[in-house]
């Protein structure tokens, strides 16, 4: 079954070359209960390690079921250990954070047996060994003898062909030790049992074969056997598949057992994420707020048309543009100041045409009265109303009263040398403290008056229009077309202003985040180092897992998952912290900057300094996990390459 052929293993320690195994020839058959006897340092543990593939011989060959292991890959050895070998260690080597049941089920889970039947088989195994009452206890709550029995159950659960026990009674008193050995031998009929011990007495009592080793050489072997012929059942190596959830459990435990450290790490890592999130929020907030406030002043859907050279747009051009199918409504931008007589006083007011979107009156401020329906009806601004009544200011509550007063006022537009035009005030737009003295009239009526009064046509300098096309490309094409044919430039002031703000802000954000990424490099190094430390601390566990047949990529995955969890933690911390900081800063800004400003603007300013948005948060969460995994990949790889023997030896 197991054959060693001229196996030699040398260690170099300082200047000494130590022959841990020196030309060892041995073979084991099913039914063997072989005790390896020898003083410490005689090479008996090395022999066991070489037999299980945890260590590779310097020279010589090992064959298992007639298969030469020379070409075994690490993976093959792992499968072999998992399926063929049951290990019992002196120090029990149970996984501390798993219950007795899970510890026993572990090799089965490594084989890819589903969780339910793994646990069932483990329960049977534990009941058989007399631990039915302790299956849910963690190793820490079990006595030494109980722990060793759990370890034995773990060794038997896969029904291996070989049981290897390294000083199984070393840490137990003799009575308990005897029990353990008896159980071992009783249950290991038709298996190869190899027990390493320095207890001659024990060997004499239980062994059916005693092999003595000293200085790496076989001194005695009371039942020398010839190498056997290949067995009937060939060594079959089906690849074990380990469940991700199991690895996840290990990773989570790694994290939980050093919670303070990991929280600290996550918090430090999150600093970079927080700064990125806050930068995104603040840029988004400022951009959004600026557009929002600009939209109050500049109607987003209005287009201004100017002649390229600073001249008036003549009626011909006006008609040509109006004839375009894209144009909805085209007006000259009239803003003329005329004297008005009201209540015996003469005042100057700006006369404008009504905006296309009369709802704008209600969006920005409050509107009293109604929209003009006839040509002689006008809407006035708050300032106009105040000037008519010869006032500077009035309380907001009295706007309605003020409007009632002015509706009854005689309101005459003065034409020099011609009869006055009597206008009727039907509406008032209370547009806040920065209100200007304006009079809004229906466009056609105003145009008639203006063209009459100002034949030179100063009012023809620009046009305002709305369009019935909305796609950027169409608008751009139309703009270009007008530019080419009519020599006029059409612009959307709102889009221009906000577009400029947005492009500046986008660029700023790009640069800021680019620079902030530097912090993430530091975070990456930190994650790497913390995972590396975690690996160093888990060396023993790695060794146990390797001995039980876990493969290197399983171990790698544990630590990658651990770093992923760490990244998730930092992402969550960053999310919570950035939302908290953002709302705090917003409050601070609103109460100390916006509120005083609004005393002046009459509450018109509505500013959100930082706008919390979900997309960057989501991105940071995902990125945090992936980035941490990448950062942890190197130490995880290092962990997967650790030598199991050294790992187990580490005290």
């Amino acid at each position: 079954m197991l054959n060693l052929h001229h196996v030699t293993k040398t260690y170099i320690n300082g200047d000494e070359t130590l022959h841990a195994l020196n030309d060892v020839n041995l073979s084991f058959r099913p039914g063997d209960v072989a005790f390896l006897l020898g003083a410490s340092g005689s090479g008996k543990s090395t022999l066991l390690n070489v037999l299980s593939g945890l260590d590779t011989p310097s020279e010589g060959t090992i064959s298992i079921d007639g298969v030469d292991t020379e070409r075994f890959s690490k993976k093959d050895w792992a499968i072999y250990r998992n399926h063929y070998v049951g290990f019992v260690f002196q120090e029990y080597n149970l996984i501390e954070h798993l219950s007795a049941l899970e510890n026993v089920a572990l090799p089965l889970l490594f084989q890819g047996v589903d969780r339910k039947s793994s646990l069932e088989r483990a329960r049977i195994e534990l009941e058989r060994i007399g631990l039915a009452n302790h299956i849910d206890k963690k190793p820490l709550f079990l006595s030494g003898g109980q722990q060793q029995r759990v370890a034995i159950a773990r060794a038997f659960v896969t029904n291996p062909k070989v049981i290897m026990a390294d000083e199984p009674t070393g840490a137990l008193d003799s009575e308990l030790g005897d029990k353990v050995i008896e159980y071992l031998i009783e249950n290991a009929k038709d298996k190869v049992v190899i027990v390493v011990t320095h207890d001659e007495d024990l060997a004499q009592r239980y062994a059916n074969r005693i092999i003595t080793i000293s200085d790496g050489k076989i001194i005695t072997d009371d039942r020398e056997q010839t190498p056997d012929t290949p067995d009937k059942d060939k060594l079959s190596l089906t690849e074990p598949r380990m469940r991700l959830s199991l690895l996840f459990k290990f990773a989570r435990n790694n994290l939980a057992s050093r919670m303070f450290r990991n929280l600290m790490t996550a918090a430090i890592v999150s600093v970079g994420f927080i700064s990125i999130l806050l930068l995104t929020f603040i840029i988004g907030g400022i951009t959004g707020s600026i557009s929002e406030n600009i939209a109050k002043i500049i109607p987003p859907d209005e287009y201004q048309i100017h002649h390229v050279e600073d001249t008036a747009i003549d009626i011909g051009t006006y008609t040509a543009i109006l004839g375009r199918p894209e144009v909805d409504d085209l007006q000259y931008n009239i803003n003329e100041t005329y004297p008005v007589q009201a209540r015996g006083n003469t005042m100057m007011f700006s006369f404008l045409s009504l905006p296309f979107d009369t709802l704008a009156f209600e969006r920005d401020g409050t509107f009293y009265g109604r929209m003009p329906e006839n040509d002689d009806e006008v809407v006035i601004s708050l300032r106009t109303a105040l000037e008519i009544r010869q006032m500077q200011m009035i309380d907001e509550d009295s706007y309605g009263y003020l409007f009632d007063l002015v509706t009854e006022t005689q309101f005459d537009l003065i034409h020099l040398g011609q009869p006055h035009t009597t206008l009727k005030i039907v509406g008032m737009h209370a547009d806040g403290a920065f209100s200007q003295a304006r009079v809004y009239m229906p466009y056609d009526a105003l145009y008639d008056i203006v063209s009459d009064l100002d034949p030179d046509g100063d009012y023809r300098m620009s046009l305002v229009t709305t369009l019935n096309i909305s796609s950027d490309n169409d608008i751009q094409a139309f703009t270009q077309d007008l530019y080419d044919t009519e020599n006029v430039v059409m612009r959307n002031v709102f889009a221009e202003v906000t577009g400029q703000v947005e492009s500046v802000m986008d660029n700023a954000l790009r640069w800021f985040i680019g620079v902030a990424l530097i912090t993430l490099v530091v975070s990456g190094i930190l994650i790497g180092l913390v995972i590396y430390t975690s690996v160093l601390e888990r060396i023993r566990e790695i060794g146990i897992l390797t001995a039980l047949g876990a493969r290197s990529h399983n171990i790698r995955l544990i630590f990658i998952l651990e770093s992923g969890l760490n990244g998730l933690m930092s992402g969550i911390i960053a999310m919570v912290a950035s939302i908290f900081i953002a709302s705090f800063l917003n409050r601070l800004f609103n109460s100390f900057i916006e509120a005083p400003l609004n005393l002046i603007t009459g509450g018109n300013l509505n500013f959100t300094l930082l706008s919390v948005s979900l997309l960057p948060i989501f991105f940071v969460l995902v990125f945090g996990v992936i980035y941490a995994m990448i950062a942890g990949a190197l130490p995880a790889h290092y962990a997967s390459k650790l030598n199991a023997v050294h790992a187990l030896r580490k005290e």
């Binding site: 600290m264 970079g272 201004q304 620079v515 912090t519 190094i525 930190l526 005290e651």
Partner: protein, 749 residues
Amino acid sequence: MIKLNKIHKIYTQGKIGFHALKDVSLFFKQDERVVVYGKSGCGKTTLLNLIAGLDRPSSGDMVISDKLTTKFTESEWDYFRNHNIGFIFQQFNLIEHLPVIENVAISAKISGHRHNNARKMALEMLKKVGLEKHALKKPRQLSGGERQRVGIARALINNPDIILADEPTGALDRTTGNQIMDLITEMAKDKLLIIVTHDMKLAQKYATRLIELQDGVVTKDTAPDMDKVTIRLKRDIHKRSLSFIEGIRLALHNIKARKWRTGLVAFGLSIGIVGLLLISALFNTIRDSMHAEGAALRDNPELSIYRPFDPDQDAHDMLSAIEDNHPFFLDLSYVPDYPLTIIENETSGTVYRNPVSLGHYIGTPVHPDILRIYDSFVGDGRLPETSDEFVLPLSKAQALFSTHIDLSHDELWNRLNHHQFSLSTNFHYAPFELENEFEPCLKVENWDEDPDTLPQSFTDRFGDYETHMETLTPYTDEPVKIYDHEQKHLFCDDYSSLNWFIDRDNHKEVTTLRLVGIIDDRNINNALFHPDFLLTLEIQKTALSNDQNIDNENREKVIAYIGNDHIDQKAAIIRSLENEGYMVQETTNVSFNFLAGLTLLFTYIIQFIFSSIIGIAVITAGLMLLMVLYISIIERTREIGLIRAMGGTRKDIRTIFVGETTMIGLFAGLLSIGIALILVLLGNHVFNQQLHVLLSRYFENIPVDGIFSLDIRIMLYAVIGSIIIAITSGLIPAVSASRKQPIEALKKD
């Protein structure tokens, strides 16, 4: 020598107490070889730890060399351990990253010996244990026996009176164990040697006195002895500690042993610092270039030398007069200093509704130095070369178009490139402030009612007035008489107080010029003409007959650039010109200075923002360092315990860790300088092209060869800063390390 009197020791773990030593009274003499044996858990190691002061008894007294050690303070214990006790451990407890000789010397260093001295002592000790050949090896290169020899050498280097050995052969095979025991007994001759073991054979072979412990009680003592001891209660005040240099030296060994980790930490710390260095290097260049831009103008100060219009004097006369008197000027150019306006684009046929006034204009400089400055400011096209060419500043070029549209520089240039423009170069004047048009009468105060003293007559009230006004001109020598035929008051004031303005709608002379270039008006706001053109303008000049009224529009000037070599004589030059009757103004380009100041402020703000963001990386790195040190302390708990067992004080531990952070900081600082220098070189080569284009759009004088320039002073700050950050970050872990209890620290694993 040592007297233990009724010592009890109880350990508590949670609520469970464990009585490790029960009423132990013992007396050890100067030259005894005592072996304390017993099973594990019998309390023998506890006894040893109590004697060494690594652990304190729960009750009882202990006197060592006439000192009542149970009343010792921690620092007294440290001193006592260091000088009077040598400790040998089962697991050797060598510091893996230190070479053998340092492992031995450290004990001497803790007791205050200088580096060289301590090493000499260590080498001697190593000779005694037969390891002088291995002095420079690391412990892991030694076999178990050799390691324990190192342990013995270390225990004995300070020539202690008491040697305590805890299972000194426990980890060795029998032969080696015997050799070690021989060596210990040999070396510890005439010292008190207390060995703890569970190995009966060993005990019997080497002991002069055997003590058996069982469950914390002395069950056997082959030579019980109880002497009275004298107790000296006087406290010794000891001052000695590990020097900082020694801390650094130890740190270097540790750093060497953990190269990768330390390297990564230092790299992490350096990343942020590199960022700060690069930002500073970039903004250095930007500011330098801004400075250079200003310097070009500052190096050759520009003077404006004015004189009133003088119809009798030729412009050439003025030029040559100034030139002859003052050979310090690099360049002189004559400027009539009255307004020119563009009234029509002849090429495109646009007649401007509002003629564009050119404001300031000058002649193209002739001197190559000055010319070069102006050349560098030309954005599109070139400087005027013939007298029918001119160049506009950007703002004036934009003013030719609707203010509502935003033409790109290229578009602007395409639309104006080599267009012919009509410039109004001479004007009709109109009297300013004609009174209210509704008032037909212009009052003249102080008029003596004599029609002859009135300006020219006019017949009608309003129409005539206008007609007659046209004949009025400020340039006639004779006063013009204005009165009405009914002899009413015509002027509000007398004739001399009439203000004249240039009637821009009424052009007297129009010149056609070709636009050949646009100047970036960030620096210069002048239109540029060929000097010859400006000299021809001079011929048209006229002056008001009543010269009380000289204002900016009624004078001519010469722009003069003082050569850089005569810059210090500037004041003298100005004074002498003023003595000659000129009015001299030093041209300080206000818009340039203001803009430069604003841009400078802006660069500082941007640099601050970027530096703050990078600062987060530096802070993160500091926290990382804190974290890594904190972890490393957990890893090195054993080492800390060992140093404490050898008598190192808390301060010594702190010194070691602060030394380490100092080194990491220094390393990070140097690393960041290195990386920054490499990136600067790389950046100047690789990214120069792209970034240069980008930056030179805003800053003209960005040097072509490199956009980054590192300052040596900044690099020095970087190193100092990184050391400070590292030390600050390491402070908490260092303090926490120094607070570890030595016994707990040694017990670890």
